[in-house]
Symmetry: C2
Subunit: 191 residues, 2 copies
Amino acid sequence: MQQGILFVVSAPAGCGKGTILGQILKDEKYYYSVSATTRNPRPIDIEGVTYHFLSKTDFEKLIAENAFLEYAQYCDNYYGTLKAPIEENLSKGRHVIMEIEVQGAMQIRKLRPDARFIFIAPPSFETLRQRLEHRGTETPEVIEKRVSAAKKELEMKVYYDYCIVNDILDDAVADFKAVVRAEELKISRKA
Amino acid sequence: MQQGILFVVSAPAGCGKGTILGQILKDEKYYYSVSATTRNPRPIDIEGVTYHFLSKTDFEKLIAENAFLEYAQYCDNYYGTLKAPIEENLSKGRHVIMEIEVQGAMQIRKLRPDARFIFIAPPSFETLRQRLEHRGTETPEVIEKRVSAAKKELEMKVYYDYCIVNDILDDAVADFKAVVRAEELKISRKA
């Protein structure tokens, strides 16, 4: 069976990455890579859907076993991506979608030269600001911080393979599918 | 303005390359690269559509001026691809489609590392044989020769970037468009 392809996806907050991936993941040919964490579950969390919740002892045991593709520590909690479910799904021919911020993506770039890196960008910073304002959940200060962070993240897009601008959702979803299809058609694809 | 992309397309005879390209070229964002030749026009030929017809003197003058991206001699006639119309269209942001057999494509591979190489393959040799038989224009011997030639050409597909299997025409056209779109979305695309 032909191997699936690992797609690593990053986007600044407010770029509609979740909405695009929601559309893409309707197709069973994709497997969404769920991160593991030691942070406490919140009411909104579902084990195995939002995160795999692990104890600190278990997480550190898995680190020692080299079970993570990447992991990091924030605010005294571990966050990481387990290798096994990724490999298992790829070997079944399913494409794996992994959402990760730019620093984590750059780690994976080195470890997995076979992965394809997709950056999702806002049509403009003005649009991004409007979208964040439209949500109405953030203060103007937070919005400014997010727009500044997005500008910095956008500079990292040069390290990605593809950039999809999310102006019109349907077009962005079609672009994502085109990228996947083209990668499927690549001669160099692992048999 | 963003540069167009040069797509080099090869396929064994009977793979439906002409039909696929016919669909693709309906879109004005493409320019079809017309070859130049010194052979005599046939009644079916249209100057600038099937070929650019040149005298041997003119062709050799252009060779001396390094005006060809590639050229070759068959049966005492020259055949070649002029650089100028390709560059002109690429700089206008149009994608250039260049149909060429595998040997010629490999020459271009060295000269134009920015070009993308698409191989169109039959779903199987049995299907290819059936298609050629269905045409009813060739003798069984010629069909066998063509199928053998296709097998040899198919070995060359490893030197291409993409392989599109033409089983169902609409799917093959959609695959071609997906490849173009993905290439448009590439970060490394020449600005």
